[in-house]
Structures are given as C-alpha cells and as structure tokens.
Symmetry: none
Subunit: 120 residues, 4 copies
C-alpha cells in the first residue's frame, strides 16, 4: 500500500481498516491485529497506527481491552455504514452539485458518464 500525499497517513490507515470492516474481514466482535503488527504491515511507525486506532475508537468502530488488544464493536459495520452515508449526503453530494454548476455539466451528462462505471 502506498499513501496519498494529500491526506495524513494515520487517516489513510484508518480508512483502510474501515474498508476491511465493510468487507467483513473480521467476525462479530473479533480481535483485530495489534498496533505493532499493523505498523509492520503498513511499514509505518507504531505511533502512527496508534492514532489510527484512536480515530476508529472515537467513531465507535473498535474498542480497547487493556493488555489484550482491540476488538470490533458489536455494531461496527452498521455504525460505519451510517457514518459514511451521513458524510456522503452532507458532503459529497453538495460538492458534486457545485462542481456540475461550475463546469456547466448537466445532470443527464453526469448520468451518462456514470453508466460507464455501472458494471465494474
């Protein structure tokens, strides 16, 4: 995995873990890899992974059992979907509309364009 320079690395790692949650990489309330293992996996300083895990914890996606590790929250996947839906509706859509107007692209043009992706 190589990182996008625009976003902080710790956020990108958090998002990568979120993606795994969405893809059901782990079972209900299962333990996720340790900070150290994840740091090795991403070739990154453990402090950085720590920040990612803190972020996930703030969003109620994982929880910490001291001395044992981090575990998925009971409703992790559903919480995550809700979070993303919220941000999608509040941010992505209005920005999309703004871009369309500035570039003088009609909604129907956009739809045509989107169809190219429909089967991927």
């Amino acid at each position: 995995m190589d990182f996008n320079k625009e976003k902080p690395i710790f956020i990108q790692i958090a998002e990568a873990i979120e993606d795994k949650i969405l893809q059901n990489e782990w079972n209900h309330e299962e333990r996720i890899p340790s900070v150290r293992d994840t740091a090795v996996l991403f070739k990154v300083n453990p402090n950085t992974v720590m920040r990612s895990y803190n972020l996930l914890q703030e969003n109620n996606l994982i929880d910490n059992k001291r001395g044992i590790g981090y575990f998925l929250m009971p409703d992790a996947r559903q919480n995550l979907i809700n979070l993303r839906k919220k941000s999608f509706l509040e941010n992505a859509i209005p920005e999309l509309i703004k871009s369309l107007k500035q570039l003088d692209i009609s909604v129907s043009e956009l739809i045509t364009n989107l169809k190219n992706y429909e089967n991927q």
Copy 2:
C-alpha cells in the same frame, strides 16, 4: 469571506479568484487587483496573497508584467474549465463510484437524489 480551517488560506484565496474568473469578473487579459489590494480585501498578509498568485501563475491563469501587475492570461477561463473538468473526471467521479459501492447505493437511487438539486 471566512476561511475553512482544513485548507491553507493561500489555496482558498486562489480558488476564490478562480471562481471570479469563471464568473467573468474580469475581461480578456485585464489586470487583476494588486497583491496589496487583494491582501486588504481578504484581510490577510500580502505574502499570503503572493503565494496564491504564484499558484495561479503556475496554472497559466494569470501572468505578470514587471512593475505593473498581474493580468489574466488570454485563455484563462478556458484553461481553468479544462483544469477543473480534468480533476473532476479523474477524482470526483471515481470517488463517487467507490462511495456508492460501499454504501450499496444504486446509480438510480443517486439520480433520484440529484434531482432534488436540479432546480436550485
């Protein structure tokens, strides 16, 4: 104008000026306000505006005449539209698609949603 804390101010100023270009605030190859005037307008240090103008110059939107000021490039508006269209197609659309998949939203659902904005 108040600034978004997420992005550097000098970028936001550059974008604000880009928006003015799109809205035809200035005529073909017209002189735009001086660094100092823009600094006063945005209540910001002239150095910061300097960075914004440098950015615009790198993108071939404005050009400098020594001792006189900055002027719109002949094709500023068109160049800008091309730049934005390119970034829109390369970034916004794929991200949109990714979000749709993760959230299990169909394209038709999205279209329905978009229609709410159609007349704004």
Copy 3:
C-alpha cells in the same frame, strides 16, 4: 558560502544543493539535511530554505515524506543532468554563437581560447 547579489538567495541555495547531487554527496534516495539544518548551514532563514526545497521538488529532484524529511528522488542525478544539458543547449550555445558573430570571432579562434582551459 557567500551569495551573489544578482540572484535570489533561495535559488543559489537550490543550485548549491544541485551541485552536491551532481557530486554524489548523497546516496540513492538518501535523506538530505532538514530545512532547519540547511538554514543554519547557510546562515539563512528557514523560510528561505523552504523555498529552495520547493524549487528542487518541482524539478523532481527531491521528494518529501511527511514528518520525516526530504529524500533524493530515484533518478535525481540523471534528471538534473538532463535538465542542465537541455538548458545548456537551448541557452548557452545560441548565446555563445550570437556573441561570436557580434564580436567577429571565428569558431577556430574560440577553440584556441578554449584549449587554455582544457587541463584545469
């Protein structure tokens, strides 16, 4: 190091670093000194070094890893040689020819003159 008053300091620093690259001061993709250290070395404000590093980055000679520092690009040395060769052929040679004509110096005269330098 003392600076030439004709050229901006930040450009002269960038050129000094380029010279070090040409002289293989650093290994392949090695980290170069921090902005602050370089500022101390040249007895200059860190902001000034920042501008030099930005310039080098634009020319694909160095790259930044967030929170860590600046690193030589994989092909830094070769890119640099290409850049300089290009500018040499496009600028230096035609100017040389122009001078020769204006001064009524023949190419063979020039060659004789050049030989004085051959063993330095």
Copy 4:
C-alpha cells in the same frame, strides 16, 4: 519585440540599441531617436527608455545634448565591441567551461556542436 522576463526591460532595450549600433544602423555621431519615439516603438513607459539611455551613456556609447537629443559617441561602435569582448572573455568563457565540466562534455564534443552553427 517581446521581452524576456528574466532581465529588466530597460536593460533589454539598451541591448537592442547596442545591437543596432553594431549593425551600423546610425552614422558616425548621428542623433538617435528621442526617448519618446523609442518608448512608442517598444510600447513602453518613457521612464523606462530614460533608464536605458542612461545606461548607454554610462558606457560611453551615447551622449546627451540638452534640448536636442542623444547622439552616438565618436567611438561608440568600437567602445561597444571592446566592452563586449571584455565581458565575453571574463564571463561567458569561464561559465562555458564550468558547464562543460558539470555536464561532462568534452571540448571536442562542444566543437562538433558548434559546427552546426558555423554557416548560419
């Protein structure tokens, strides 16, 4: 005539006039065009031309007769050739040698390259 952005305009105008002197545009001690006419010719502020003329005067190429205009100095052409020869030997040649070394170009390579220009 369009100006190179690297050099001050007043210097470029002075050089353009020097070139005309070399090309015998004017006769011995002839009057050269007025500041105003030259300003119109180059589409430039008269103050700028004033600075060019001052520069030429400092180099003993032209002289001013108050209320009448600027005139070529008796030995203008020869003075100019001497000036240029001096600067050529002191600046151009050593810089050329430096570039050759940095780029690892041998003198013979250079000569080959120069021959392309020999008949222009």
